[in-house]
Symmetry: C2
Subunit: 593 residues, 2 copies
């Protein structure tokens, strides 16, 4: 039998496409490159894919469809594209609010976007009274109404369903997690806000965003020094602390969780968003940090062969680890690649779009650890280098975090010319300032290529009060050398020349405010044309936000984390030699100085 085809004209674009008789209009629009909202995935229960039927067949809508259209203030010539079957030539107008919305993922760096398709959704509906003769169970009615036969219902939500306040024939709202679990149910008038929490759980700094799950936009952002720092400045010292005594694990966990709870409180006060309107949290941290945050012992990370306990973790209740959100809120932990390449990197890769790069590409996260990921063809490999806390301004005699008063840039005008954050009097030097100072000192001959301070004073005097000692210079030199040798060895492992790199993505807040020329000249970044280098900012936090807002991004990240190979540089025979070589500032004298 010959199939019947009809023409679908799509306005305002004016596109015309052919559709098979009986085809779902939403599918036709996708084929025409005009995807509509994925909010309820074509189950006809959210009303977000409404279109206007300008001409063509217009059958009566189902009562639920009519209610959803009315709820959006739309007239009788509108229909849900996911429920409309093409039965004749038709002319439709798409509505701005029905199109699939893209969100920007990164604050800085290369453009990257995702569609809004959060794990947590809120669907409004009215349950009808069942027949008296054979009453169905309320939960089964809800499953049928949401077209989710396998929907799991938490006991508290079930109990509300059995309560008088949510009886049939009243508008109620179901809060769903990943289309498979009912987190809560409430009268529709309870308010439509729906928030998520993105957590970048850094060793030094913890950064949070309160994310509107309806739009994918951050409503507020806050950060603070990781309260675990009092138990150890770096990851290794915290692992050691936790290993000493099971109580210490609890202390570390409590410190981090309390800090996050406090910071949530700050954002809730500032924005007026109630805590119980936060239904989902995504945590991106390095392997040790996310283990400790989940209360998982890290003894196996303390001793060879340095095993993580988990790589990927299914979402679990936030209440299980004491996060004060909605009582049924869930936590998703960004999957770890391996013991020393954590979920923060997976999140960063997802946000920075490394996987989408066409040629060979490099991702470097410059923090206390320097994580390096190389992509070549379809292959990915990651490694971690112990840069130490110098880039965070730690362990440097006059070092400090990148906060107001810190020297963050330096040049030369007959002496060091310093810039400070917020133009306050210089109180110390943060990571980016250290890079500039060393670059200037090398260019001016105050520092030898071997990192030795020239002249009798053995100090780089910055102001009357501030100076860098030989030890300070050595610490920065070691940090730079660790990253540089890591990059060189990873490129060698993949047989990629630095010059062939299409793209170098530099993550971390340190990275984002770096002087590119100085960083390359010093050897911290590979020697590629500067326009191939992009700073992507706190890509760990951006990735956490992405995972809140996009379920497909989570699935892709899980697959990517499982696929990335791990390279243990220390077991390579050329590791020592390369590291020693990387300590030399051999790109000096610079061409331009």
């Amino acid at each position: 039998m010959a199939e019947t085809f009809f023409t679908v004209e799509i306005l305002p674009d004016g596109t015309k496409v052919r559709a098979r008789a009986g085809e779902v209009l939403a599918d036709v629009l996708v084929r025409a490159g005009l995807p509509l909202s994925l909010y309820c995935r074509q189950r006809g229960v959210c009303g977000k894919c409404a279109v206007r039927i300008l001409s063509g067949p217009l059958p009566f809508p189902e009562p639920n469809e009519a209610a959803l259209l009315r709820d959006r203030g739309l007239g009788p010539d509108h229909r849900l594209a996911c429920q409309y079957l093409v039965r004749g030539h038709v002319s439709v107008e798409t509505l701005p609010g029905s199109r699939l919305e893209k969100i920007a993922v990164l604050d800085a760096g290369p453009p990257s976007a995702a569609y809004v398709d959060p794990a947590v959704k809120r669907l409004c509906l009215v349950l009808e009274k069942p027949p008296l003769r054979s009453p169905t169970a309320v939960a089964d009615d809800l499953r049928a109404r949401l077209k989710s036969p396998g929907l799991a219902l938490a006991l508290p939500a079930l109990s509300k369903l059995g309560g008088a306040a949510l009886g049939p024939a009243r508008p109620i709202a179901a809060i769903l997690y990943d289309d498979r679990e009912l987190l809560d149910i409430e009268p529709d008038e309870a308010g439509r806000e729906l928030y998520g929490l993105a957590v970048d759980l850094g060793t030094t700094t913890v950064a949070l965003e309160l994310v509107d799950l309806r739009t994918g936009q951050a409503a507020d952002r806050v950060s603070a020094v990781n309260a675990q720092a009092s138990y150890g400045a770096d990851v290794v010292s915290r692992i050691t602390f936790a290993f000493e005594n099971p109580d210490n694990l609890r202390r570390l966990r409590t410190a981090a969780v309390q800090l996050v709870n406090d910071l949530i409180g700050t954002m809730c006060r500032r924005t007026g968003v109630p805590r119980h309107r936060i239904y989902d949290a995504v945590v991106a941290g390095n392997t040790a940090m996310n283990h400790i945050f989940c209360g998982v012992a890290v003894d196996t990370l303390a001793l060879a062969p340095f095993q993580a306990v988990f790589s990927s973790l299914p979402p679990f209740p936030a209440a299980d680890i004491g996060l004060a959100l909605h009582p049924q809120a869930r936590v998703y932990v960004s999957p770890n690649v391996k013991s020393f390449v954590g979920g923060d990197i997976t999140a960063g890769l997802a946000a920075s779009g490394l996987a989408a790069a066409s040629g060979p590409a490099l991702f470097i996260d410059l923090g206390t650890n320097g994580e390096i990921v190389v992509k070549k063809g379809g292959e990915f490999a990651a490694t971690s280098t112990a840069a130490g806390p110098a880039f965070e301004g730690m362990n440097i005699s006059c070092g400090m975090l990148a906060v107001p008063g810190a020297v963050d840039r330096a040049g030369w005008a007959g002496g060091f010319k310093l810039r400070t954050i917020d133009d306050l009097p210089p109180q110390g030097v943060c990571g980016t300032g250290l890079i500039d100072i060393l670059a200037v000192a090398l260019a001016r001959g105050l520092l030898g290529r071997d990192g030795r301070i020239q002249g009798p004073e053995k100090r780089l005097r910055l102001t009357d009060r501030l100076s860098l000692t030989q030890q300070d210079v050595r610490d920065v030199q070691l940090a730079v050398g660790a990253v540089r040798s890591g990059v060189e060895l990873m490129l060698r492992e993949f047989r990629v020349k630095a010059a062939d790199l299409d793209r170098v993505l530099v993550a971390g807040s340190f990275g984002s405010s770096l002087d590119l020329g100085n960083a390359v000249a010093l050897g911290l970044l590979p020697d590629v044309p500067l326009d191939r280098i992009a700073f992507v900012g706190n890509s760990s936090l951006a990735g956490a936000r992405l995972f809140l807002v996009s379920r497909p991004a989570r699935a892709a990240a899980e697959a990517l984390a499982a696929r990335i190979g791990h390279v243990s540089l220390a077991v390579r025979p050329d590791f020592q030699e390369e590291f020693v070589r990387a300590l030399e500032f051999d790109r000096y004298p610079k061409g331009d100085s």
Copy 2:
């Protein structure tokens, strides 16, 4: 290409079967009607399907296989049937301990059996050290070792995996739930006990069994009056009480949960089994009882159209409702058929094997409610009749529960001849005693067919102190009439004549001690040859035990509960007429009196 076949000789049976080259020996044995243990479902991780290879190829075993065989004290000529591939003619001897074990389900009644395949299993293993170069996550090693790639791990279990006590190269034991979740992990020497809890949550009586999940046998049994009774004797009064005030729901729930926790304590003391060795609980109760036990509001059960909130419920953590078992123990609630036919009936049907009956069959559970299920061909339908508490001896002037001192049987020898439980002096009359007394009184003409007490005294005098009033007789008459009319109408609905019933299964502890002849003569049971009637005892408790021990039985019960139709007798036009007719004791005078 022609396939190659080999002969497999199976001893001690002496059976010979043909096997394709490369076929798994365990599958060959299943085909030969000799199924082996399903414990780990052919993943080669439990060692329970070991056989002895008497002749034929004997390749070296894998290290894990060798360890499992050693653990069972078996020699080098043994192999796991699930790992052994047939590569030549082979002669094998099955071991008694490797065969799939059947358990008896019911204490009384028709034989019925299931294979031991519990939701909770304990598997012993040794994790190997991963390579230093690229260490895998411990959880991933465990998943690979258990051949369960999707295994979910609760955070506390994960934390133990990360602890020093369970490092690689030590024998550890994984406690799995339904092959998909790790409940706990412990050193193997922690003890191999594995228990489950079966709960029959009756309106009047709560009965518990502590079940050894390795054998399927009850280690202990205990029962007590439902502590909720102080808030109302029957289901309706408890629903009403819960409906009045949300705090009342909590009171009811707490009463039941505390009672169950106390009874668990009693069994644990008596048997020496620690609470934390109980990993699974199955609760079978009527719809209102299981809702309340789970803390789910029952407002929708209080008002028309009398909706249950849930029918089937995925297993959830026991800690969520305050049951004091292993911290990660799960609770499975036997699925409800409909609002007034609960999980106790589903459990009873599963245990009594109604689904397996060949001809038309009837299942009657005689409790405070009389639930009736008819089977005809592949169709099932259920209804519930309000028998009231008379069968439990409640609301009768001299009534009492079936406890020591209760009159449980009666005959005639120039006056009522009474038997009491434990031969104590008669303190009151329980349900079975009431049936006998009415039957005797009818046979002796002390009672008219309309239930009126003959003679001036208007009492049936039993002893100096005990007698039944007209009101007592009326209550029993109403209870019998409710069940009788329910049975008549259900048979009419299904166009089945009582005489055509192949099997009548009578459940409930009341039912089990009933005098069959009297029950039929009085009209409580349908008029069929007595050998077609079987008492199945507390089939709700037996079903709960079955669900603990057999996962396939759970799956079958879920399917059955979803399939059973519900008949609302009260909306039938002939309901009133039939009920009035059923109040007449029209089978008197009996043929034999």
